[in-house]
């Protein structure tokens, strides 16, 4: 694979020579473009395809924007990007195969959006050849392994717990019912929210979590949870099924509040159920309500004809940060050097490129962005204060 990249750089050098000849002849300032491939392995078919495609849309958009602007400048050379996307159907072994394929093509930056795949390929990052793994998953184990070539995008969810719980307990009462999804992430959330709820003095009912991906009808799980007469329901999984859980609960006469896990997005849920059903929910503030995101939202909607989710927004951010880090590091293929510049790159970028307000990248490789949570009241979003910010 080294030969391939060697070849292409030889071609680059030749074309560079030709280009400088052209420059000399024409007196124009045209420089030959160097194209850097960015790898992506995610679920592009099957049940999780919507998720993989959302992630890809954010990457595509960032790359298209940079290319349209003429690319970024690395060591005086104009660099444009190309996304090489491979389907792994959410299966870790296929992620591993894809990653090996991508590194064989001389690709040094690879985005993976699911915990299983990330944990599988993490040990490969510093084997020959090295690559920077951009991880889009909140799984804490990703950071625990202290891998030096991992860049983790989503913010930690433990920041949400305290304000979610205190808001809802104050507003509705002390009994929590559980109807979250049973994905790995959903289970962690359920455990964390149970801990926080009891810590603040509430009681938690039986866990009625169901797999949002394989359940045909949620109403029986909801009926079971409501039989315990909870004041607040913990729900969440992908937005659409979550909205249907809300619907089932409201239709069965539930008047209390919802704690909505961050995977579900209000902006997608309210296209399925009336906004009134969401009244009394707490969750992540819709991307479009963030200050300074209007440009991103408008452009995204123009390109993809749908509301951007945080999947799209955070990966858009990730791609921009990586490109900026290449600029700062003066290299497009030295993963270590690029990783070292991520923090500076995150701080240097304007918010129009990062969507969320970025505070930097932690030493452990974790993007530190300010995430805002909100409660819904009367169809309006009210921002909530986050007390503990993870550093």
């Amino acid at each position: 694979m080294k030969q391939i990249s060697g070849n292409s750089s030889r071609q680059q050098r030749i074309s560079l020579k030709l280009a400088s000849l052209a420059v000399a002849l024409l007196g124009a300032s045209a420089l030959a473009d160097k194209v850097v491939n960015i790898g992506y392995s995610g679920p592009l078919s099957g049940g999780a395809a919507f998720y993989g495609k959302d992630v890809q849309s954010g990457l595509d958009m960032a790359i298209n924007e940079m290319n349209k602007a003429g690319g970024v400048t690395v060591k005086g050379e104009k660099v444009t990007f190309k996304l090489v996307a491979l389907d792994d159907r959410y299966l870790p072994n296929e992620t591993a195969t894809n990653v090996k394929r991508l590194t064989s093509q001389g690709i040094d930056i690879i985005f993976v959006p699911h915990a299983g795949g990330i944990l599988t390929v993490q040990p490969l990052t510093n084997r020959d050849p090295e690559f920077l793994l951009v991880a889009y998953s909140s799984e804490p184990k990703i950071l625990e392994s202290k891998n030096p070539l991992t860049f983790m995008l989503p913010p930690r969810y433990d920041n949400y717990l305290q304000p979610f719980v205190s808001t809802q307990m104050k507003a509705f009462g002390k009994k929590l019912g559980m109807v979250g999804t049973t994905s790995a992430y959903g289970k962690q959330w359920a455990e964390a929210i149970t801990g926080e709820w009891t810590k603040q003095g509430g009681t938690v009912g039986t866990n009625n979590g169901v797999d949002y991906a394989t359940t045909v009808d949620y109403s029986s799980a909801v009926t079971k949870a409501l039989a315990e007469k909870p004041d607040v329901l913990f729900i969440g999984g992908p937005s659409q099924p979550t909205a249907l859980v809300v619907k089932a609960a409201r239709e069965q006469g539930f008047k209390g509040g919802f704690i909505v896990m961050d995977q579900a997005k209000f902006e997608q849920m309210d296209t399925i159920v009336p906004r009134a059903y969401l009244d009394g929910s707490v969750g992540v503030l819709p991307t479009k309500e963030f200050a300074g995101t209007q440009v991103f939202v408008a452009q995204y909607q123009r390109a993809y004809k749908k509301i951007p989710t945080s999947e799209a927004a955070l990966n858009y951010m990730g791609m921009n940060v990586v490109a900026k880090a290449m600029e700062l590091a003066g290299t497009t293929d030295d993963a270590q050097a690029i990783r070292a510049q991520l923090n500076a790159a995150a701080k240097a970028l304007p918010q129009s490129k990062t969507v969320y307000k970025m505070l930097g990248v932690s030493a452990g490789g974790h993007a530190d962005a300010e995430f805002i949570i909100a409660s819904v009241k009367g169809g309006k979003y009210t921002k909530l204060r986050v007390n503990t910010v993870f550093k």
């Binding site: 099957g46 049940g47 919507f50 169901v210 045909v216 009808d217 109403s219 029986s220 937005s239």
Partner: protein, 286 residues
Amino acid sequence: MSTFLQQLFNALALGGVYALVALGLTLVYGVMRVPNFAHGGLYMLGAYLSYAVLTGLGWGYVPALIISAIGVALLAAFMERVIFYPMRNAPHVHPMIAAIGVLFFLEAAVQLVWGPDFKQITEPVPGIVNVGGVIITWQRLLVIGASVVVMLGLNYFLKRTMTGATIEAMSQNREGARLVGVNTNRVGMMTFAISGALAAAAATLIAPIISVSPSMGEVMNLKVFAIIILGGMGSVPGAIVGAFLLALAEVFGGYYISLDFSDVIGFAMLVLVLALKPQGLFKRGT
């Protein structure tokens, strides 16, 4: 008590949908001896066609249901002609693999046309009825009512019409049917068409309650296969009983034991029944 009734009602609505999907599968198996793994794909396509008619053409729910049923029926008949009829004498594993190929194709094609995102079909009659503490949504009532109507209609068709009687005769005894001069050639195509229409109708009925996505057929596929084996492959009453049994087991198993258990229970039941009664609940002539 009201929780029990609520769950019973949930189970009936679910069972109605399972029954419609399973009936088509069991008919096809009875007549063609094809374990049609593409059936879940037809069900999924039915939901998308209805979605397209509703949002694309802006027509009503009932026309959408009818158009989608006709569309899927035609496609199923076409599939039978082009793929399954030529393979009618091959070992069963061959058409099964071909059906999986069709399923792959349908899922990918739908994802290409409509995208991988969840789609939503709005309820034709929104709102709820409260009967003594049991909350009943109009959509679920509609599901139960429509599935009963469709099942009665199918029964009438199989028992009282010439074509229906032919299908039944053939599912009971293929060779015998041929000997008494039944045109077995056409019957297979008819059966496929009916199974497609049933799957599309079921999908359109349940779509407002669940989300429509390209992989919705995979989940349904395994469940309806469990149902028709449970009931005895090829048996019409078996499919209906199996469907409601599975729905009741899932809902009440989830309620009284554990929701984790509700996914497993259908298959556990299947394995148990087959271990005790290898022919399924409703034995039928082969």
